[in-house]
Symmetry: none
Subunit: 208 residues, 4 copies
């Protein structure tokens, strides 16, 4: 399928991938211009269509590429030995920060794909991203040690409250996560500090 493209030297391959991710991330599938992609990648119009049958096929390749990256570079790195929900969440935040420091366009790509999703590619991508995120969320936020919870607390619901609260917090702090993760280290440290304060408050609610 993409054999021609995949056997390209990594350097050039990545230039093209990044140009495509950038354009799709900025404009969504439909408004993205293959013209812009080739201009950004510094290749000819024909070459893009030598590697990819058409725009859609290029998009789906990029989509799968990004999904795999997300899986390998994020979900695979979470340590599930950490049984305390707050510690686990801190770990996740740090991993996310690293991830999006490394691949800043990828996050925008998913945001654009999920929100601006065009009917032309909807059917194909189905809900693979959604599935990954949901199955991921389940994984990320399960298997906690609940021995130190107050009696009479619905554990599941309390975990939800913790997650939603902290999500709400970082959304507020970062407006969009994209912005959040484009901040520098010291700003990020401030955010972490604020997260810690909220964690303490939530611990008071649910921990003995």
């Amino acid at each position: 399928m993409f054999s021609k493209f995949l056997s390209l030297e990594p350097k050039k391959r990545d230039i093209i991938i990044n140009a495509a991710i950038k354009e799709f991330a900025q404009k969504g599938y439909k408004d993205a211009s293959t013209n812009e992609i080739v201009k950004e990648a510094g290749i000819s119009k024909g070459l893009l269509f030598h590697y990819f049958k058409n725009k859609k096929s290029l998009f789906l390749f990029i989509y799968d590429y990004a999904l795999e990256l997300l899986n390998n570079e994020f979900y695979a790195k979470v340590s599930f030995d950490e049984k305390d929900i707050f510690q686990r969440y801190r770990q996740i935040l740090l991993l996310e920060y690293e991830l999006f420091k490394k691949y800043p366009q990828m996050y925008s790509f998913f945001v654009a794909t999920v929100s601006k999703d065009s009917s032309e590619v909807n059917d194909e991508i189905g809900n693979r991203y959604q599935e990954l995120v949901e199955s991921g969320s389940k994984l990320l936020f399960e298997g906690f040690d609940v021995s130190n919870y107050k009696d009479g607390i619905d554990v599941k619901k309390s975990i939800n409250i913790i997650i939603w609260s902290l999500e709400g917090l970082i959304n507020k702090l970062g407006y969009h996560r994209t912005t959040l993760f484009s901040t520098n280290q010291s700003q990020f440290d401030e955010i972490l500090a604020e997260v810690d304060v909220y964690m303490e408050l939530l611990k008071k609610c649910f921990y003995k």
Copy 2:
């Protein structure tokens, strides 16, 4: 600026506004077709560009129109006499439900605008919507009676936790708010019931 359009007889004006909202809501700024708008509104292409300098100017008009509607039909109707945060939130949910029952396209319009925002209009709309929502949120979630809060609780933070948790809940229940509000009354009642359960849990956390 829009004097020509504004001095139009209200009936015709509304037909055009609704046609535009519908198209922008469905497709976002860039993909919206002025052709579709004039077809839906039953006017000629020339006339649309007689009233509005260009597509962008039409969009910005619609955007401001929708913002004002949101303000009048929602924020202005919240009763600030209700001093209990949970009661206030319940009231807001009901108002929202009414609002989106009445103007179903408007919500879609904002969702589309915020998510699919095209770089071409981003700068102009700035963050007027965001500002309204934020200033609105402040308004909506201030001035509570905190006399029955546990001692030693950071009130502001606890209010945030309540809001974010309930937001998280209805996002989860409705997946997208759009879907949520297009549900029928009995489904909406179920959602309210679930909200109540979470409210009880949150009360345990923060109320004496």
Copy 3:
């Protein structure tokens, strides 16, 4: 369907029709360039697609237009009162000559369409041209007075021989009919004279 185009002022409409016929006649459906058509017609690219949904639709319009022309300007004009096959054939030749003097491109168009027919339009045009020609041929070469035929001659077969012979002759004289009909009047008269000689020979064969 083609209402926009049909309500155009005849002069301009014909310019476009002729430009399209010319291009399709020269290159066949697939190789014909809409770019060339608009250049030849002196209109903008957009206007062509304002009148016709796409290249295919333009082609089918032209095809039907040409079919109707062929029917009105040729088949409808043949006088079936002429019961002598040779006189009938002479009449037909003269009508054809007039027809193709008047619409020189049309003949080329059909030749190109029949021979170069692209799979992309084949299904749509079906065999409407073929049907017309065949039903036409039947009409053209039936209902003769056979009272002066020699006895023991298979009339049907003899008529076929007459037709095929005369067709063969004018094909030879004109190489392609296209060329034939682009000749001038005096050349055409020579051809007619030659046809007459062959007719005499054929009469000897079949007439008493």
Copy 4:
């Protein structure tokens, strides 16, 4: 000119020739794809253009190759000892049948070339095919024994009538010659039988 190609080992050369004939026969000059040709021939794009300057040059080579084949395999095999025109014609029909059984693509190639001829190659191929066919026809249909013709018959013209009639017949029977020759033996025998009937009728006309 084509020295490089001609000094190729015959096996490989024929693979390329056949691939090219097939593609040109199916699609005509313009629509034929050099991509398809190299794919079918199992060679690289570069190699094709190493042997042939460009697509046009390849086409002209194939064209001349096919012309020569037609000459050697058909015209050279006709026995001119047969002095009876009807026997000669029968012989020719059988030879044609053998020829196109052996080289089915070649016939399609000429049909496609003659009918779909693109202006880009028209000038170059000129009318070499036409010339061959015409000079061939002269050869094929000359030198007959006319001793048993009726007196007062223009022999040349009567021969023409015979040829055109029989051509007309097989065109009608086979619709296109291509179809005709792709029929199986028993169908071909039926056609021959019909030809014989017409021959008898024509004999009555011209033979004593």
